[in-house]
């Protein structure tokens, strides 16, 4: 059996929230700066300097695209609708009431556009993306392979990026959307709940299942069974 040294790996390195890339105070401060800068840009755009719109949307191109590709599935549709969303945002900029951040407002437009596009594709059949059973039972992980730290260079490989994109499509839509908003777009749980029109509790439930399901789908221990798994990982099972 491989050596198990709990003091040496996961916990020893973590005294703050495990996945936090920045501490909350730093993030708040950064968000305040971004918001102030956006305010200036928005005012100048509304005064007629429309070419500044490109600067305003630059930080959100990926988040809008990621949201749309997770909802529409097709790269072409996602790109097309992303362009539509950003053009709509420009046309409606005067209607932005600053009740939320500009980024959140964009994501809301993107989700509405994606829903409309899906309705058209389904010939008018209405459905809700946010409805669905929020199963509150504990999700039982299917694999306990120990992942070592994934080198960020691995994302230079297109097959890794493809595997991540494909894994997302295997989730049910309401789990996928909660995950995208919270973990890809880095919105808060409250913002995610607001956009989806659900409670914070429901967001947490969806996030929990989405994260654990993705972990199982991508788990190196399951890759041999036809799963999407990340092939670059060395598998160390705890019982070996």
């Amino acid at each position: 059996m491989a050596d198990w040294d709990p003091s040496g790996s996961v916990l020893a390195q973590r005294r703050t929230p495990v996945c936090a890339t920045t501490v909350a105070a730093e993030k708040d401060s950064r968000n305040d700066r971004i918001r102030a800068n956006e305010e200036v840009l928005i005012s100048r755009i509304l005064e007629g300097k429309k070419d500044l719109f490109l600067d305003l949307i630059r930080p959100y191109q990926r988040t809008v695209y990621a949201t749309l590709i997770s909802m529409l599935g097709s790269k072409e549709d996602a790109e097309d609708v992303t362009q539509d969303v950003l053009l709509k945002a420009l046309a409606r900029l005067r209607q932005f009431r600053r009740e939320s951040t500009f980024g959140t407002w964009l994501i809301q437009i993107a989700i509405n556009e994606a829903r409309m596009r899906k309705r058209k594709l389904r010939h008018g059949i209405m459905f809700s993306l946010t409805k669905g059973t929020d199963d509150d039972r504990a999700y039982v992980p299917k694999d306990f392979a120990d992942w070592r730290e994934i080198p960020s260079e691995s994302l230079e490989r297109s097959e890794i990026r493809e595997a991540l994109a494909k894994a997302l499509t295997l989730l049910e839509e309401h789990y996928r959307l909660a995950f995208i908003l919270r973990d890809v777009n880095e919105l808060s749980i409250t913002e995610t709940a607001h956009i989806l029109g659900i409670t914070r509790g429901a967001v947490k439930t969806r996030l929990r299942r989405a994260r654990l399901m993705l972990r199982d789908i991508l788990s190196p221990g399951l890759q041999q069974g036809g799963q999407v798994g990340l092939a670059f990982k060395e598998v160390r099972k705890p019982w070996e």
Partner: protein, 189 residues
Amino acid sequence: MGITCEEVWRHISDYVDDELDPKQRTALEEHFAICRQCAAVLEGTCNVIRLYRDERTLAPPKGFHNRLHERLDQRLRQGSEEGIRLSRRAVLAWALTAAAAVPLGFALFSAKRIIQPRLGHQSPSGSPNSPAVTGLVAVSQDAEDKLFHIPSCPYLHGKPKFLPIEEAIREGYSPCPICIGKHKPEKKG
């Protein structure tokens, strides 16, 4: 007594989001220290989040930014051209209106200056301040409208016949509402 693995899985996502109270958080950390499987689940979950947060994951395809910028530029150009077109149209419409208004105003002004003295001339007995029509008026010999007009009325069609206003009234003619209008026939006596 520690918590079970199932309880850990139920709270692991909240642990990652730092949404647990200190007591729960400590309980989970104690469990991770003794349960390698749950520690592996935690590690994997964090790896998943790290991977998806990376800017390269779900990034727009190559050329996306250029295509977007081209489309936005195109829209912005269209918008400004539209604005210019609209303002040009507005100026043109305003100019045409003004051009039409000038001769119309001049015509009305001239007509008033021509008609008033003529009426005055036809009615030397009328008061200069009175708008009343006196003297000769014109009726059409062809039209069946039974209206009498001032001789220069553009609504006088057909062959005109001139007669004193009193006679026109006696014959059942009414004043033309266009040319006489306010110029009510002056009643004698």
